[in-house]
Symmetry: C2
Subunit: 106 residues, 2 copies
């Protein structure tokens, strides 16, 4: 088990006003700009699927799934000016963020 | 915003005995067998990265990230005999599972 190789960064956002289409759009647009950060290998912007089971948490508003080539690239993304600008411009939109950082288990 | 297209199913497992290398290996081996389910487009088996920040939840033991071509394929995976066998054989290993199902937001 190693910390090298592919690094998956999955962020879930809970908005202050999840019913606001404008706020959701503003966050999505912010993430689209953020996706230009040079260390991001690939990304996906999502919303909860329609599935409902006890184990499923569908209370979040937006999912932001990122792949990096390695942990160092994710570290560098955290302080990328594009990322800092995104946080400064969009942080008023969310009330909670949960992040799961994952590396290969094999 | 639509529920068609790519469907991302991200499962986080918390083990009864997270300190047990044998239990972690048993779950990983179970997931490797489960990865043969025919509707799975791609998968990633992971563990928490070394990152530490307030917003990061690194308390889980194993991450199981799946891509399906669409929601129907994920529905069908839920009742696939390979999936049912995995649950029957491995469910004693975990104390908690959280699932986030995500579809495109654009």
């Amino acid at each position: 088990m190693t910390q090298t190789g592919l690094f998956i960064h999955h962020v879930y956002f809970w908005l202050h006003h999840p019913e606001s289409k404008a706020d959701k759009t503003a966050l999505i647009e912010g993430l689209q700009k953020l996706s230009k950060a040079s260390t991001i290998k690939s990304f996906h912007i999502g919303q909860p699927a329609a599935t409902k089971r006890d184990v499923i948490d569908s209370s979040y508003s937006i999912s932001w799934l990122l792949y990096f080539d390695n942990a160092a690239d994710q570290d560098s993304y955290q302080t990328d000016p594009i990322h800092l600008k995104f946080v400064a411009e969009c942080k008023h939109l969310w009330k909670k963020v949960v992040v799961y950082d994952t590396v290969g288990a094999l």
